[in-house]
């Protein structure tokens, strides 16, 4: 049966990354679009972190002009012929049109402060950053590339969990990405995960939490089970900051909470301290002072 040749798309505001209204939703102070762009979508008054699209995240972390995309030719398919109120293929086409991305994970070879790095960045705007087969395979290729070229692996997570429309294939991406991260680990190379708002479900319970170091942005929420499910099951009302970076830090689940505006410097410091490589720079410095 030929299914869904015509794809109808209603254009909506991108679900994330759009500049907020003229006032910060946290501190209510005036915000300009330009001001936000200059501060990587962080409110200059109160430090509230707005979502950052994958392209901007790459610009934030990678040295300019250093990015080569990996596995960009991998495209999602519809292995289950999944149809709920709308066909999966239609949801995919819409996500691709809205985000300009082909999937929820962008994989790249780049340099960060001069050091070659295999960098993966998720975009929550692409079907809630859900993990399907392409996300898993791009992660896998990124891990292989890291090993082949003896580079660190750095992945920025942002995900609502598994891609339901790919059924158990999407659940298996948890096992796949964990196995891929293990290859990097066995090669003695660092793997750093940066968790951004939100990182939940299958991504939180797979590659995001097997990294050597886990960094998170301020205010990012990390949960395995959803708030609604927890409250229904346990009849306990959760506090508003449940699962936030700051709480996860208290509960010992992450290493550092890092402001986005300092992320590149901190990431570089982590890599320097783990594997060296910029000894000459660190040489004299202020160590003796």
């Amino acid at each position: 049966m030929a299914r869904y040749v015509t794809v109808q798309v209603t254009r909506k505001e991108p679900p994330t990354g759009a500049a907020p209204a003229e006032h910060c939703k946290k501190c209510q102070l005036p915000l300009s679009k330009e001001g936000l762009e200059q501060s990587w979508q962080v409110c200059p008054h109160c430090g509230y972190h707005y979502p950052l699209r994958a392209a901007l995240r790459l610009a934030l972390l990678a040295d300019s002009g250093s990015v080569t995309f990996i596995g960009e030719e991998l495209r999602p398919t519809d292995p289950l012929e999944f149809f709920d109120l709308r066909p999966y293929t239609e949801r995919l086409a819409e996500a691709q049109l809205e985000t300009g991305l082909t999937e929820a994970l962008v994989a790249a070879r780049c340099s960060i402060a001069g050091r070659p790095v295999a960098l993966g960045v998720m975009d929550f705007g692409f079907m809630g950053g859900s993990m399907g087969s392409v996300v898993g395979e791009r992660f896998h290729r990124l891990a292989r590339l890291a090993v082949e070229e003896a580079m660190p692996l750095v992945v920025v997570a942002s995900s609502g969990g598994a891609r339901m429309q790919e059924g158990l294939l999407s659940l298996m991406q948890m096992a796949k990405t964990v196995a891929a991260a293990e290859i990097v680990s066995e090669a003695g190379l660092p793997y750093i995960a940066i968790l951004t708002h939100p990182t939940t479900g299958g991504v939180f319970a797979s590659f995001a939490t097997v990294a050597d170091l886990i960094l998170a942005e301020p205010g990012a929420v990390m949960q395995f089970a959803g708030t609604r499910v927890i409250e229904q099951t346990t009849r306990e009302k959760l506090p508003p900051d449940f699962g936030s970076s700051e709480k996860q830090l208290v509960h010992g689940q992450i290493d550092l909470v890092v402001d986005r505006r300092e992320l590149k410097a901190r990431l570089t410091q982590c890599l320097d301290l783990l594997v060296g490589g910029r000894v000459a720079d660190a040489g004299g410095g202020e160590a003796g002072g």
């Binding site: 999602p76 087969s133 096992a175 939490t209 699962g243 509960h251 689940q253």
Partner: protein, 327 residues
């Protein structure tokens, strides 16, 4: 005698199952009537299954499997142990925080082979179900599983896991105790465990909480077990915005053993006694443990490195995608 043809109008996975059943039926009819062997029960069972496939829509077939997989009297980990591992020694605790009743782990002898067995336990009575959180494990449950798996590895014991959970426990304590990290690390530990491993989905394979115990050299499913990335109710609530659409979600998710075998995500389907596993715990346990025994014997013939390579490659291959041609 005119042979039945595969039922039409069913999705391919059920067609495939029907064809497999028809072949087996023909085989059985051709077998000489050996003394002491009675095939009539199996023939009857196959005919019933074919009839049920013929008379149901896809969603009814999937939903029926969900109901059977969740059946309160369905054999659980402790029932398999009772029937098949007489010397079972249950071990307790994760050595970090507590002991989770939703996961049973221990040592014992299966068909003359010393093994470690780890499985979810939902509980039968209401009291037991409450004590075991309905088989929904907390971080300490996964950490107990990892600890016993590592213990088995140290002493060269193969590890058998029995999977039967609605999912990981959704609670504040579990989240704050590192539920996500515990699941991820369990997946990691089982993916690199140096001893042979077999996982059997005996009932409900619910999402990450199931996968944490289901990474293995061989993954089997009982005929009426289900294994899914999300519960049909959860999926229906999210995508249909109506939990009552669960039967349709069950079909769309392709969570039955037949579906997952066709997708290449499981290695084998273990048939259940007539009407479902709950009708005969002993017979079910025997069938499961026989397949486990055969698989372990086969896996033991492989070298450690070879087995690890094959396991890793299996998981790294999983996924379906297309390659766009260069512009």
């Amino acid at each position: 005698m005119a042979e039945q043809s595969p039922p039409s109008g069913l999705r391919k996975s059920y067609q495939t199952e029907a064809i497999r059943l028809l072949k087996r039926l023909q085989e059985l009819r051709r077998l000489p009537a050996l003394t002491g062997t009675n095939y009539s029960e199996e023939i009857k069972r196959i005919q019933e299954r074919l009839e049920s496939l013929r008379n149901r829509s896809d969603s009814a077939v999937a939903w029926e499997a969900v109901q059977l997989a969740r059946h309160q009297d369905r054999p659980q980990t402790l029932d398999y142990i009772a029937h098949m591992i007489p010397d079972f020694l249950e071990l307790h605790g994760d050595r970090l925080h507590g002991d989770d009743g939703a996961v049973v782990a221990g040592l014992g002898t299966l068909n003359g082979r010393r093994i470690a067995l780890i499985g979810h336990q939902k509980g039968h009575s209401l009291k037991e179900r409450q004590e075991r959180s309905f088989g929904m494990a907390r971080p300490e449950g996964y950490r107990k599983a990892m600890r016993v798996a590592r213990l088995a590895e140290k002493f060269g014991l193969p590890v058998v896991t029995l999977v039967d959970t609605p999912g990981a426990y959704p609670g504040r304590d579990a989240e704050e105790g590192g539920q996500a990290g515990a699941i991820a690390n369990s997946i990691r530990v089982f993916s690199v465990l140096r001893v042979p491993t077999v996982a059997v989905v005996i009932g409900e394979g619910g999402s990450g909480g199931a996968l944490a115990l289901a990474v293995a050299d061989r993954v089997f499913m009982l005929e009426n077990a289900v294994y899914s990335v999300i519960s049909p109710e959860g999926c229906a609530a999210l995508l249909w915005r109506d939990a009552a659409e669960a039967p349709r979600a069950a079909e769309a998710l392709r969570l039955t053993a037949a579906d997952l075998y066709e997708l290449g995500l499981i290695d084998q389907i273990i048939p259940e006694p007539a009407g479902g596993a709950h009708n005969d715990h002993r017979a079910t346990a025997k069938r499961v443990m026989r397949q486990v025994h055969l698989a372990l014997a086969e896996l033991e013939r492989l070298g450690v490195e070879e087995r690890l390579r094959l396991r890793r490659e299996k998981y790294l291959r999983m996924g379906r995608y297309t390659i766009a041609s260069p512009k």
